[in-house]
């Protein structure tokens, strides 16, 4: 049987709470089978976008389409979407199996079929051995698997994932992130994934939508977002440590247009024998590399450099920037400017 077209389309969707705008005229399309990540800081409206698609919030204006269906006014249960919540939202009084099969039982699917589908979904996320346990008897990672299985069991048109990894510790997060990517490749489902973690966005997303104050800042592949940030906000938000912003290129010996700010990622700041003079203000070792905080004329700059090079506070060294890695932003609007 052909899978239904599950392209999600938000057409000028807005959401206001008591006159305060959470999402503003958002235009967004998720292709069939795509994993699109909505990335943004806390309070940017990214979870609201997810809840609007789920139908848990009603759009103030605009239209939401899933496939050929206008779902803007449809109740959540009639949209055929599944959601994995940040808190997992597992029912504490039910076993893992009952949690996974909840939606099927509510829809009065035959018990035998429920059992079979629960077992299949559990096998997909490798949690078949946990089915008899209650959420209180499961670890964070195991709960997350059960929540994923509950989303999978109904075979929905769209999966919505609201920061599903944020409650896991760093190691488990990295592991689950990889598993999620594999799961998406295996299931081929359309997924809308919300996170504030840029590493998650860059590693998982086929495309990333960067949101700020309810407005779309940029929509593109991880590579595009990384290499060509549409504005200063995207440039600084994506990447850790954040992109250096200098008020002009003069301090670093670059000839930049008037009114243009210079953006350069720490890994592209070259320390060596050539370039302008800089003083080391602080060295932060991070394993094989170190973050070197520099003062260049009146500007502050962070460089990522190999940790084995001996550098101490107060050292003087030379800094050079390669033009191909330098981004220009309008000092007023923050929008990206072309090199001319």
């Amino acid at each position: 049987m052909a899978r239904p077209v599950s392209l999600v389309r938000l057409e000028r969707v807005s959401k206001e709470y008591d006159g305060v705008s959470a999402v503003r005229e958002l235009e967004l399309e998720v292709a069939d089978g795509e994993l699109l990540v909505v990335l943004g800081p806390s309070g940017c409206g990214k979870s609201t976008v997810l809840r609007l698609v789920a139908g848990l919030e009603e759009a103030t204006a605009g239209r939401i389409m899933i496939g050929e269906r206008d779902v803007t006014r449809l109740s959540p249960g009639r949209r055929n979407v599944s959601m994995v919540f940040q808190s997992y939202a597992l029912f504490p009084h039910l076993t893992a199996a009952e949690n996974i099969g909840f939606g099927l039982v509510v829809r009065e699917v035959r018990r035998a079929e429920v059992r079979e589908r629960v077992a299949r979904a559990a096998a997909l996320v490798d949690c078949a051995h946990l089915l008899a346990r209650r959420p209180a008897q499961l670890s964070g990672g195991e709960r997350q698997r059960i929540a994923l299985a509950r989303a999978l069991v109904r075979e929905p048109d769209v999966f919505l994932l609201d920061e599903p990894l944020s409650n896991l510790d760093a190691e488990l997060r990295a592991q689950t992130r990889a598993e999620l990517k594999l799961l998406h490749a295996r299931v081929g489902a359309t997924m809308l994934y919300v996170t504030h973690d840029q590493i998650e966005a860059l590693t998982l997303g086929q495309r990333i939508a960067v949101l700020r104050d309810g407005e779309l800042q940029q929509l593109g592949t991880p590579n595009q977002i990384w290499r060509e940030p549409a504005n200063r906000f995207v440039g600084r938000f994506v990447g850790s440590p954040a992109m250096n912003i200098l008020s002009s290129g003069t301090a670093v010996g670059l000839d930049t247009p008037p009114g243009a700010e210079v953006g350069i990622r720490p890994e592209h700041v070259m320390l060596g024998e050539t370039g302008v003079e800089a003083t080391v203000m602080l060295v932060e070792p991070i394993g094989s590399e170190a973050l070197v905080h520099l003062r260049v004329a009146e500007a502050a700059l962070v460089a990522r450099a190999p940790a084995d090079a001996p550098r101490s506070v107060g050292d003087t060294l030379r800094v050079s920037l390669s033009r191909e890695h330098v981004h220009l932003f309008d000092a007023g609007t923050g929008e990206r400017l072309p090199w001319s």
Partner: protein, 274 residues
């Protein structure tokens, strides 16, 4: 031993002392020889011990039948109150905030109206419906949850559940009734049992409503029967105390059975088996 635990034990001991001592004197008093005045000093074991007061009290005013009537009314009132109050409390969680505020304010106002102020209009209503001298006026308040306080308690209990649980249910196309039955009620079970117990005890001990609505001796509930006993032989304290023990024992039994349900975590619906 943790400091909190010792305080809890001390608190429990104080409550037990407050309840246990009068109960002990009640039972001891019921075992005294009929017709004797109350002892001048506390007496835990009377001499001689007489059990005949129980039989005599039951025979004199038909305590057995009255207990059955009380049980019938309480057994209808308690679950009905829980059902309606939980529906109402659950609905309050689901409805729009503005409507909810109005209803909550109205409930609080209703709580402030003394029940005796409604006695005459309620009597007039049931009389016009031809329902006086039946159990209907005693059970009917349960159809509107008996008291707004039950609804408010359920509302608070349902509201304390994480909102994502309701969201998850809505995404699964669960109807409000399904959410109430499959998720809401199992998770607020201790509250439901407590409200049920409270409704049972209040109905069991209700004196005023049966006095107003019931005329037929066959329909008398326990408090009315006890009143009759007091009128028949006002100075026979052992007899009166024996009647009181008969009236109190079922409530304690119900509490003992119910406590395990509200003191322990829910074990699940088990619809998928193991």
């Amino acid at each position: 031993m943790a400091r909190g635990t010792s305080w809890r034990i001390l608190g429990a001991a104080a409550i037990v002392a407050v309840v246990a001592l009068p109960s002990a004197f009640l039972i001891a008093g019921s075992l005294r020889q009929p017709g004797l005045p109350p002892p001048l000093t506390p007496e835990l074991v009377p001499d001689p011990v007489v059990f005949g007061n129980y039989e005599r009290a039951a025979d004199l005013v038909g305590l057995g039948r009255a207990a059955l009537n009380s049980f019938l009314v309480a057994a209808l009132t308690a679950p009905l109150s829980v059902l309606v109050a939980s529906w109402a409390g659950f609905a309050l969680v689901l409805i729009r905030a503005r409507v909810r505020t109005v209803i909550l304010a109205a409930s609080l106002l209703a709580l402030m109206v003394p029940l005796t102020a409604l006695l005459v209009p309620r009597f007039a209503l049931f009389r016009s419906l031809g329902l006086v001298n039946t159990f209907v006026p005693l059970v009917a308040p349960a159809l509107v949850a008996t008291s707004p306080i039950y609804v408010l308690v359920f509302y608070v209990a349902f509201r304390r559940l994480p909102p994502e649980l309701y969201d998850a249910c809505r995404l699964e196309a669960a109807s409000p009734l399904q959410i109430w039955r499959r998720v809401g009620m199992p998770l607020v079970r201790p509250v439901a049992v407590a409200i049920g117990l409270l409704a049972f005890v209040l109905s069991w001990g209700n004196f005023l409503d049966p006095l107003v609505y019931l005329h037929d001796r066959e329909l008398f509930t326990l408090p009315l029967a006890l009143r009759s006993l007091a009128q028949l032989d006002p100075t026979n304290y052992p007899l009166l105390l024996a009647g009181s023990v008969i009236a109190t024992a079922p409530v304690i039994a119900v509490f003992l059975v119910a406590q395990r349900y509200f003191l322990h975590e829910h074990r699940g619906a088990g619809w998928l088996g193991r």
